[in-house]
Chain length 357, copies 3
């Protein structure tokens, strides 16, 4: 644990919560409900787990305001997840240690690197790279020529940042991420051969973005591929060339976004979703996991399915889908009955079973 | 080839098979049916290929016990794939060569490294890393502080093992795998901003697990993400935080498993499947490729589709799906006929077209 | 910009286009429509954007032959994308710089490396590696023993080339790609344990192939996994063992191809498609994004859906899918009406002998 113990009252103030019990209790860390013990604070996010409060061995607990009564020291808050995120960060965030540039790192020419950085062995920086204050580059990181990296950025092992790409402040990029690979752009000649279109744009990642392991973000054909402030991207996501992702957006693992898609802010894209090229998703759009989005979506739209339709309809259609064989059988049965009825009604007509065209 | 030639009789004993023909035939290796020649053993797994046995140029062949007759030297076994796996391993497994620690590797402080290891150039080990006997670390491997790696482990090029993660014995991890990246966990504040929840758990990989290239396994929020003994994971798979995968399970390429999913043993998950968070899949569950699993599954369940339903139903529903336009047309036709019939039966009723509700 | 300025007439000749306006105009580069200015050439690919030609500030423009009139200097061509690809390449292709082998690279024994190469720091070459002329290896590249790499190949940061794999001429491989990881092959014993089948084949990548970031191509069990001339593979694609991909084929991001699949030439596979093992896709097959292909496909087939069906049918079925709840409701309504009609018919039907079901 990094910081000193904190009084429960201090923590309550930090998260603007309502203190229950002894304000002087000392807390040294956060743990999950089942494992929290003496000196730790834990949390319950919903009322169901609230029923198990008598099993709690933590010194204090963060609970939702909706929880009726509580007999142990607690902080009541509207959003326990948010409160625990803030309190937990307080205990575990490590102060930056400026180890400087390890002698086994490779640094190109004309780089601008402040004194306050931590560059590991086996890092490679190209020429004219610019690093912000307190940048941490882990082993195996490769930053190509003319890239610019902001303050307080962490690049984990084996991350690649392409030439001329720009990374904002407080960005966290996990291992194996590739920023600035060429977009997938070809023109096909008369013989069916695919001629590479040069990809001369770059990638811009704005402040407070986090990018999960082995995700790929291609550089633009012209201009830039752009991920805006506060957006969080999970592992193994693919963003094509010239994509623009708005602010405070969540892209869950294995999402694929084709070229030139743009999104508004506060969008949520579920895992393994695919989005076809050149469309726009408005603010606050939500796409259910595994969907395939093929059309522009209005702000606030909630969609699901392949191709994606309004979420409500998709839930009904997918429920009906499970009944399709039954429907088919019933339809055939009805056809038979109706043919029979028709035969009865119109005795002069040919009643052979073949006339269902 | 590593080992000396083997007598056919020895190989038959190794796989508990029935020897057919000369026990003294010398075998020096395994090849596939079309390319096997003098001194090699090959195999047929099913009876169809058995019909082609006269084209076989190998010195011996592994065949299923169900194959009626065979005129060339052979080993009859219940499971030819299993027999060939064991015999092939005998010929190709290379003895460990203890090259020690290359001078161009980077080793942190207070590591515990036995003499019998092979650590390549350009490997990075953090502080307090513990390695087992006969560990092989290929170039570009990064092992963070306090990680523990068991005996006979092979980490291929550019693998990342996060801090405090634990790798069991005989684990094989292919290039580009990331173990221990942060889980995708955020709490959203009143302004729609996503606040990172610290991810302070670790990853534990048990004995005899194999993990395919560029797969990502996130560390737990608290506690551990856990892959149990004997499980095999293909390339580009995503396991979220706090996932627990049982023993002897197969996860085919590009599967995505959301946070806190748990599975039993001997589960098989087809390629590109997605599994929603916080559910449990019982022992021996089988999920068809590309499915989306949204609910707990009982032991032995076989499911498919998005959302996944019992496999039998899904096969029927997806067959019916192809007939949907036809069904829609026939339904409309029936409606027309029934309306007609109703009109004939109840001539006094309003025959306006609006009464199709 | 690398090359000198070019006269517009020269560019028109290069792309076999029809020159409109002053042939002596000097062009120094290519830019996109919105940003192109003095001295640059831009393009419009379709007539819609043609309507905006008066906003063009470029010195010249590439237009489709179908565009009726044009008042600014231009080159008319059948395929503007193709023309711009060729003209752009002329301006941006950098001449190879033979930096030789950096002293901080690691080179094994008995390698064959020409003088004209560019091997970065932190590259690792195993033993007996053979490199062609003008090969560029970026930092973090790992090439295992006995691999062979052709002329004019570029391997970006942290690419892994497995032992005995072969890479053709002019191949471009983006960061994080893994070529030659073991195929996912196991035999399951009587206790449900998965026994690894040795994967002793290799991977062969032919001339003019490009492979996107973090894509994985497994080595064959026996023989080779093979990507043929001119094929372009996007990011995060998975090719299983013994897959053979034909010439001039496009695999969009996150495609997964299971073991032993073979394809013809000029195939196009949309993003996130999955292809089941051991099937063949004929020449010019097109698979819609997110589909799951489960059967052999004839040359020229266009398919979509999970499982994939002819594209036309799939479009109709997926449109009908959105109406499924409505269809179910209408079916129930019809059943009710038909039951009613049958009830009306049956009590009085003493004289119709024919309706014996």
């Amino acid at each position: 644990m990094i910081c000193d113990n904190k009084r429960l009252a201090e923590l309550a103030v930090l998260v603007q919560g309502e203190l229950v019990g002894d304000p002087e209790i000392l807390i040294r860390g956060v743990a999950d409900f089942d494992n929290a013990g003496e000196g730790e604070i834990t949390f319950v996010a919903d009322l169901k787990r609230g029923a198990m409060l008598d099993k709690c061995k933590a010194s204090a607990i963060i609970v939702p305001t909706s929880l009726p009564e509580i007999s142990i020291p607690a902080i009541r808050v509207r959003n326990p997840y948010l409160a625990v995120a803030r309190i937990h960060a307080l205990f575990v965030e490590k102060p930056f240690v400026a180890n400087g540039i390890d002698a086994r790192a490779v640094v190109g020419q004309d780089c601008r690197i402040p004194a306050e950085v931590a560059i590991s062995p086996l890092v490679y920086l190209g020429n004219r790279v610019r690093l912000g204050q307190r940048v941490t580059l882990h082993p195996g990181v490769v930053v190509y020529d003319d890239a610019v990296i902001g303050d307080d950025v962490v690049l984990y092992a084996n991350v690649t940042i392409g030439h001329h790409c720009q990374i904002g402040n407080r960005v966290i990029i996990h291992s194996g991420v590739v920023i600035g690979s060429d977009g997938f752009g070809y023109a096909t000649d008369g013989n069916g051969r695919h001629i590479k279109r040069p990809q001369v744009g770059a990638v811009q990642i704005d402040d407070d973005v986090e990018i999960g392991a082995n995700t790929c973000i291609d550089r633009a054909t012209f201009g830039k591929t752009w991920v805006k402030r506060g957006t969080k991207i999970d592992n193994l996501v693919q963003l094509g060339h010239n994509v623009v992702i708005g602010e405070d957006t969540l892209l869950v693992a294995q999402v694929g976004v084709a070229g030139s898609v743009t999104t508004g802010n506060n969008v949520v894209i579920g895992g393994q979703v695919g989005i076809i090229g050149h469309i726009h998703l408005g603010d606050r759009v939500m796409v259910a996991a595994k969907s395939g989005v093929t059309k522009n979506l209005e702000p606030g739209a909630m969609v699901g399915g392949i191709p994606a339709i309004p979420q409500k309809n998709w839930l009904r259609s997918s429920a009906a889908y499970a009944k399709l064989p039954e429907m088919l059988r019933e339809l055939r049965e009805l056809q038979r009955k109706v043919a029979e009825l028709t035969g009865v009604m119109e005795p002069g007509e040919d009643d052979s079973p073949g006339n269902n065209e």
